[in-house]
Every structure is written in C-alpha cells, then in structure tokens.
Symmetry: D2
Subunit: 189 residues, 4 copies
C-alpha cells in the first residue's frame, strides 16, 4: 500500500491553500489502495514524514516563497529528518495572490527544500485545460475555484500516487505514459 | 532622454512573444521623452546594449527557461559586454504555453542572466487586474490577448521607463510610489 | 547621507551569518558618509526598513532557502511594508553548511523576496579572488574565515553603498565602473 | 541493465565541463551492470534520450544558466521528446567560472528543464568533504581538480546509477540509505 502525506500551511484568515487540500486528496484517491494522511503543518509529526512514501506539500505563496510556518517546520526538524528520507517523492502546490505573483517560484522553492531532504521532485507534463498546466506543481490564485485549478490540484495528488504506486509498490499499470485519461490539450493559440 | 531597448526572441511559427512587443513599447511611451529601440534578438548589436539605459527583454518560455536563441546572443557577447553594463535596469517578459507552465521561472532566469551582467532587476508590485500581477516580469499564456495580459506588458515597459527616468535622468516626478494611475487591486478572494 | 540597514538572522548555536555582519559593515564604511543600522532580525522594526535606502539582508542557508525567522519577519510585516518600498536597493548574503549546498539558491530566494517588495536587486560582477565571486550575493561555507569570503562580505556592503550613493544621493563619483580598486581577476584556469 | 546517458556541452577553448565527464562516468561504473553512453551534445540523438533510464547532464555555467548549445538541443527536440520521458531520472553537473558565480543556479535551471520533460530530479544529501557537497548537482569552478570536486562528479554519477538500479531494475541493495561508503562529513565549523 502506498502511503501519501498531504502536509499544508494556510493563512489564518483566508484559507485558500487549505481549500485545495480536499482536491489533492481526491486526486490521490483516484489511485486505489493508497493510504492517506492529511496534516496541517503545526499538527504534523516527524513520524508522518518517515511513514509517507510520497508527500504533497502546500503553502500560501508569500513574497514569492515558502510561508514561514512551513519553512519553520522543516528547518526545526532538519537534524531529525535529514539523511533519512532519500528517494521518497514530493510534489508542491500553492495558492498565490495572483497569477504572475510568485506561485511557480514558491513551488520551485518547495521543490528545492525537498531536494535538499533527498526527495525526488518531478514535473507534471500534463495540461489540465487549454493553456493551463502544473509543470512545477499546482498553482492557482486565491481559492481553487475554476475547474482547471481544481483539476490541477487533483492531478498533482494523482500523479504523486501514480509514481509512488509504480516505483515503490511495483504496480506496473500505473505509469502515467500508459494513462487512459486525457493528459494533453492543444497548446495555446 | 532615457534610452530603452526592447530586445526579444520569438518562435518562427507562433510569434506570441513578438505580439507583446508593441504593448511593451506602448508602456514605455506612456512616459514622455524616452528614446526607444526595438530589436529582434538576431538583429540586435552589442552597441544597442551599451546605448540603452534600460532593457525590456522577452523570449518564449521554453522548458521553463530562456529560449536558446536569446541565450546564445548573450553567451556569445559576454566577453564584450561584461563589466560594462553595471547599474543599468532590466525587466523581463515572456509568453508561456500555459499558466503554471514556467513563465515565472523564465522571467527569473532572464533576471538572473541580467544580474550576472550587472543589471538591476526589479519586481513590479502592481496588480493589473484582480488576481493578475507581474511581480517578476510580465507573464502570459499564448498571445497577449486578455486585457490584463496586455496591460501587464504595458506596465512592464512603463515601470522600466519610470525607473530609468527617475534614477538616470533625475526626473523626480516619475517615482511609481507617486503615480496617479491605479497600481493596486483588491487581493484575490 | 545614504542610509544602510544590515538585517540578519543567525542560528542560536553556530552564529556564522552573524560573524559576517561586521565585514558587510566594513564594506559599507569604505564609502564615506553612510549611516548604518545593524539589526538582528528579531530586533528590527518596520521603521528600519522605511528608514533605509538600501538593505543588506543575510541569513543562514537552511534547506536551500531563507531561514524561517527571516521569512517570518517579512511575511508578518507584508501588509505594513508592501507598496511602500519600491525602488530601494537590496543585496543578500548567506552562510551555507557547504559549497554546493544551497547558498546561491538562498541568495536568490532572498532576492526574489525583496523583488516582491519592490526592491532593486543586483549582481556583483566583481571577482574577489581567483575563482571566487559573489555574482548573486555573498556566499560562504561555515563562518567567513578565508580572505576571499571576508572580502565577498565587504564587497557586498560596499557595492550596496556605492549604488545607494550613486543613485539616491547623486554622488557621481561612486559608479563601480569608475572604481579604482581591483574588481576583476583572471577567470578560472 | 540500467542505462545511463552522460550528455554534456563544453566550451570550445576551455573544456572544463568535458574534463568532468570521465569522473561522472567513473561514478556510474562504481555500480556494476550499468550500460553507459557518453555524448557531446551536438553528437547526441533523440534516441539516446529514449534509450536512457537516467541522464547526467552537464554544461558550463554561462551567465548563471544553461549554455545555449545545451538549451538549443532540448528546445529543438521538444516536440519529439515531450510526453515520452516521464519518470526517468536526471542529475546535473556544471563548471562555473567561480564559486558564488552561478553554478548552483545553473544546476537548478538544468533541473527545471528536465522537470519540464517529466524527469525526476533529486538532491544528493551527501557531503564529499568537509564543507563540500552537491545537494543540487555537482558544482565546481574551472576544471575539476580538487579531490572534492572530482568526488562530487563521481558521486553524482554514482547516485544516478544507484537510483536507476534501485527503482528501474529492482536492485534493492542499491538504496543510498544502505550505502556502506562515507556519505556524511561533520558540518562546517
């Protein structure tokens, strides 16, 4: 059974990143046989990270980077975690205040943090609608309301589960290149 | 007189980045007294870079980074240009295939390249519509068709001209913090 | 008089970034007539940021990014600061655990954060020794002990002061391209 | 049998990145049973990419980013390659002109490019000497001459081979967390 942790931070007043969490979870659930834990960052334990084969990690985009609360969690636990999580899988998601407002850069910063922890980070080649993709993690502005934003969150969770299933559980049917669902839209025109 | 160079690369078949160039230019022209040169990258000369106080630099987003033709231009001219352009100003713009598809990362790569050349790169704090900003340069998917995408291109050019006018020509009325036009929209809800 | 703020975070047990602060300050002092404030991040006030024309911002490299305490300071103060600091100047410095260990990426994350706040960020084209530069901010491993690491910290402060003097105080003699000191070493062989 | 492609660009006059290639290859060869192809980028074929389970990708650091020739190769072949290489593994290496001169940023840009192509990119948690690591790929200044620079190149190749062996060939003895060789040095003091 693949084990997936969804760990997230969210602002106290406008909980946009938290609103994405159920969609990420739905995406994971598209792949049967996944065990899932969902943790607000302040409730997460080091053990959750060790338990999980794959992590979907989300936070609000703050100043083009990781929210301090999420960063604190990993900074504080570095001595415990480092050198023990090599080879696990991670995918980021974020709510930014605007498009062009740092969401991609935040996903990239999350990926850098997880690379430092030895994780595999990956790009999702899929388009979820015309001119909408999540090549470096799921990015949306405000709450995930548009269908493509919702599907981006789902797809991030799904892809994480597919890779965990494929590489960690040896389920050879799960390779995304063999996927039956639509992964590609015509490029922008 | 402030001198602005708009240098761009664009794909041969789908010239989306090129379609943004007139808008960037319009933005520069909002500030009177600016001299402007527009150059397709293969027609640009080293002298254009020396001539310009500020550069708006645009290319298609290719694999989350700078298009090779734009990169080649600067790579090839590094020995001529380096150590001669410190303290000039630069702002990036890009057409990506999709939102979430690497536009911000490409702007960031363009900014890194210009930082290496000694340029000041800057963030545009403005919103150009609700949930639409250009904090790291103007980003759009496909051609710049939506009003906010067009305004993002204009705003990038305008801000570049304002800074060049303010810092290089001593025009104290041009500081964006004193701007009369709308720079802020309500944050995403 | 140019006003420079050095704001830094440092680990409680190994205060390597703090050890760099006196060198950054020495670099600023190479330019006469600069007013300087030095603040540990938890002692800094929003007013320090408004006061300063230029900021040298330093933190330890934690997981390839900004230390959470530094990030928290800016995240928390975003509503107060944002849209009020456009056009100021910023340069980053960091102590990483190792070379190749994320120092450049941390400087880049600091630059992104400051770009989001409207600051100009800049590359320092200088070499401070053969094969040693600070093109994206001053980077060193552990404490700044080697002469080139110390000089990188000084040069970051100096360049910041030069730009503030040149652009904000109109001191035309301060342009780095007219500098009399050695800015270039032979490239690596 | 795991299949590893080492693809590299190098400057025509100072072939520092090319000098790293034999070390990367030696690192791959530490894992028995790996098939290896080494290709200068202009001699590489699209088929090499399809053939390989894992890629070590190296180029000179030019202006804090990917050398244009390497970028051109992938840009030009995007329509052929994209959506066909999801789930393969990639690790970057680069020769920069200096430490602090953009090597980490170039590795990051190479990783972003490969993420866009669907590859897993990963951090190497190991230290190869005191204060010397390759957390985002192997970085060195000039040619790889110091023992730690040489070992960084080897370690990048070795880790790539370990992951390919572990995840693609099911060789459960190859997980780096079970490695018998020294992976950790005391942190900087």
């Amino acid at each position: 059974m693949g084990k997936i942790l969804i760990i997230y931070d969210s602002e106290s007043d406008r909980r946009f990143t938290e609103l994405a969490v159920p969609y990420v979870k739905e995406g994971v659930e598209r792949i049967d046989g996944m065990e899932i834990r969902v943790k607000f960052v302040e409730d997460a334990e080091t053990e959750d990270v060790f338990w999980a084969d794959g992590i979907a990690i989300g936070c609000p985009t703050h100043l083009g980077g990781i929210s301090w609360r999420m960063k604190k969690w990993w900074d504080d636990r570095t001595p415990e975690i480092w050198f023990k999580t090599d080879g696990k899988f991670a995918v980021p998601f974020t709510s930014a205040g605007s498009l062009g407002g740092g969401g991609e850069l935040t996903c990239q910063s999350l990926s850098v943090m997880m690379m430092n922890m030895g994780y595999f980070v990956f790009g999702i080649t899929d388009y979820v609608a015309k001119k909408e993709s999540l090549h470096y993690g799921a990015v949306f502005a405000g709450e995930p309301r548009a269908e493509h934003a919702i599907e981006a969150c789902r797809r991030a969770g799904q892809r994480l589960a597919e890779w965990v299933g494929y590489y960690m559980d040896g389920r050879r049917d799960l390779h995304p290149l063999d996927a039956k669902y639509q992964r590609f839209w015509e490029l922008a025109d």
